[in-house]
C-alpha cells in the first residue's frame, strides 16, 4: 500500500521528490545498501549527508536543509528537537548496537569483566571521546555502572570518533579499547576480547526522525517509516546493528 501511494506521488509530481537524510557516519554502508530499494519502493530520491551526529545536529540548526535525521544517539536528536525542528510524531529509535572491548589482534590479554579493565597492565584505554561522542558516552556509562570508571578515567585516551578509537587499538600502542561491535567487525587488527551484554550496558539507541518545515515532510515521514520497517531491518542486522528490543514506536 505504501509503495502505491509513493508511486502515485512520483507519477504526479514529475521528478521524484528529493529527500535529504543526515545520518551518522557509522550508518553509511547500511544506508547506501538500502537506498536503492527505498527509492524504488517510495518513488523518491535519497541524498545523504554523513558525519558526526554532533556536527549534523549543528548543521540542521544552521541550515534547515535536512528532511530526515538519523542520529547515533538520542541526545543529539533531543537537541534538534529542542530547536523545534524535529517532527516529533515521526521520531523512532529503531536500532541499537553493542559495545565490545577490543585488544590488538596479537595481544594475549584476557578480559572477562569491566573489572579487568582496571588491571595495571591496561595502561591506556581507548574510547571515543566520552564527553562528546555517543560511543564514548555509552562506554563511560557502562564503566560507571560497573564501578570502575573512577579507576580507569586517567588511562582513557579519547578519540575523535569510534573509528579513531579503534585505530588507536589497532596500532598496538594502546592495550585495549571500547567500541561498537559494528566497528570491531570491520577490523582484522583487533580481537574482540569481551562483548558487553545488553543488560550490563547502557541502552544504546539510534534516533530517527523526519524534520519539520520542509516541503516534502509527508514523504520524509514515509522514508522514516520505511527505514525503521521490516524491509530495512535485515540489512541493518547484517551490518551488525541490533534491532531495538522494543518494537518501533513513537518516542514520546
Amino acid at each position: 500500500a505504501l509503495a502505491t501511494v509513493a508511486g502515485a506521488v512520483a507519477a504526479d509530481a514529475g521528478p521524484a521528490p528529493e529527500i535529504m537524510v543526515y545520518a551518522a557516519a557509522s550508518l553509511r554502508d547500511a544506508l547506501q545498501d538500502l537506498a536503492p530499494r527505498c527509492e524504488q519502493a517510495l518513488g523518491v530520491r535519497l541524498m545523504f549527508n554523513f558525519g558526526a551526529s554532533s556536527d549534523l545536529a549543528r548543521q540542521i540548526e544552521a541550515g534547515n536543509k535536512a528532511d530526515v535525521f538519523f542520529s547515533a544517539d538520542e541526545g543529539f536528536m533531543d537537541r534538534v528537537a529542542k530547536a523545534g525542528l524535529v517532527d516529533t510524531a515521526s521520531r523512532l529509535s529503531p536500532l541499537s548496537n553493542r559495545l565490545v572491548v577490543v585488544v590488538p589482534a596479537d595481544s594475549d590479554l584476557r578480559i572477562r569483566t569491566a573489572e579487568d579493565l582496571a588491571a595495571p597492565v591496561i595502561r591506556h584505554l581507548s574510547l571515543a571521546n566520552p564527553e562528546a561522542v555517543p560511543a564514548g558516552r555509552y562506554a563511560r556509562a557502562w564503566l560507571e555502572r560497573a564501578g570502575v570508571w573512577d579507576r580507569v578515567r586517567d588511562r582513557v585516551v579519547p578519540g575523535v570518533d569510534v573509528r579513531a578509537a579503534l585505530a588507536a587499538v589497532e596500532s598496538g600502542a594502546l592495550e585495549a579499547g571500547i567500541v561498537y561491535g559494528t566497528d570491531a567487525a570491520i577490523s582484522r587488527r583487533v580481537r574482540v576480547a569481551l562483548e558487553v551484554r545488553a543488560e550490563d550496558g547502557p541502552r544504546i539507541s539510534y534516533a530517527l526522525a523526519a524534520l519539520r518545515s520542509r516541503p516534502w515532510l509527508p514523504v520524509a515521514r514515509r522514508v522514516v517509516e520505511w527505514l525503521a520497517g521490516p524491509l530495512a531491518a535485515p540489512i541493518f542486522e547484517r551490518r551488525g546493528f541490533l534491532r531495538t528490543s522494543d518494537p518501533p514506536e513513537p518516542y514520546r
Binding site: 537506498a35 536503492p36 541524498m47 545523504f48 549527508n49 558525519g51 548543521q59 544552521a62 570491520i186
Partner: protein
C-alpha cells in the same frame, strides 16, 4: 547510488580550481598591502588573515556555519541574494578559500617583497601609472612566488576537510570532495576504496604541480 569515484574527483577539481581563482586576487592584493605598507596594527591584520591557519579547521567551520546560519549575521544577506552557500559546493569553495587564504597571502607576500622597488620606479619614469606597473612589472617579476602561492592554495583546497565538512556537509555526489570521500571511507573501514581516492588526489595534485613546474622552468645566466 554509490558514486563512481570520478564524481568526487571532478568536484574536487572544480572546488580547488575555483578556490584558487577566487582567492588569488584578494590574496595578492592583501599580500601587496602587507609587503609595501608600514602601518600600525600590521601584525594584527596579519594575525587576522592567519586565523584560519592557526585555529583547528573544525572551529573555523563552526564559525562560518554560525555566520551563515539562517539566523546568523550573514544568513539573511546570503539568503537575500540567494547565494545558497550552506551544504552546496559553493560552501565548499568558501570554506576552502578561507583555509587557503593565509597560505596564499604569506607566500605571495614573500614573492612581492623580493621585487626590486627600483624596477617599479623605473617603470614609473617611463610613464606607466601604478596599476600598469603592478600588472606589467610587479606581477611578472613575482611570478615564481605567486605560482607557488597558487599551488599551495590549490593543494590546501584539495586537502581541506575540517571546515568544508561543516559548511558544505558530506553529501555524496554534491559536496563530497575527494578529501571528504577519503575520510568517509576510512571512517567506515573501507581502506581499499580510500586508497583509490588517495591515488586520484595525488594524481590531481601532481598534474597541478607538474604544469606549474613547467611554467617555472626558465634559463638563467650560466653561473655555476
Amino acid at each position: 547510488m554509490i558514486p563512481a569515484p570520478v564524481v568526487p574527483l571532478l568536484l574536487s577539481l572544480k572546488v580547488a580550481a575555483l578556490t584558487t581563482a577566487a582567492i588569488l586576487p584578494p590574496g595578492i592584493l592583501l599580500a601587496l598591502l602587507l609587503a609595501r605598507l608600514e602601518f600600525r596594527g600590521k601584525s594584527l591584520v596579519e594575525t587576522a588573515v592567519s586565523l584560519p591557519l592557526i585555529l583547528p579547521p573544525t572551529a573555523v567551520g563552526y564559525l562560518l556555519l554560525r555566520l551563515l546560519a539562517r539566523n546568523g549575521p550573514l544568513g539573511s544577506v546570503t539568503l537575500g541574494f540567494d547565494l545558497d552557500l550552506l551544504f552546496t559546493w559553493k560552501g565548499a569553495v568558501l570554506a576552502s578559500a578561507f583555509m587557503s587564504l593565509p597560505l596564499v597571502v604569506r607566500t605571495a607576500r614573500v614573492a612581492l617583497e623580493e621585487v626590486d622597488p627600483r624596477l617599479e620606479a623605473i617603470g614609473r619614469t617611463l610613464g606607466m601609472p601604478p596599476m600598469r606597473i603592478f600588472f606589467e612589472v610587479t606581477l611578472p617579476l613575482a611570478r615564481r612566488g605567486l605560482l607557488a602561492a597558487a599551488v599551495l592554495g590549490f593543494g590546501r583546497a584539495l586537502g581541506e576537510f575540517g571546515a568544508t565538512v561543516i559548511v558544505a556537509g558530506n553529501i555524496p555526489g554534491r559536496t563530497q570532495t575527494l578529501a571528504l570521500a577519503i575520510f568517509n571511507d576510512l571512517q567506515v573501514g573501507r581502506d581499499r576504496e580510500a586508497m583509490l581516492l588517495v591515488a586520484m588526489t595525488v594524481l590531481l595534485a601532481f598534474g597541478a604541480i607538474w604544469s606549474v613546474e613547467g611554467l617555472l622552468r626558465r634559463r638563467k645566466r650560466g653561473v655555476q
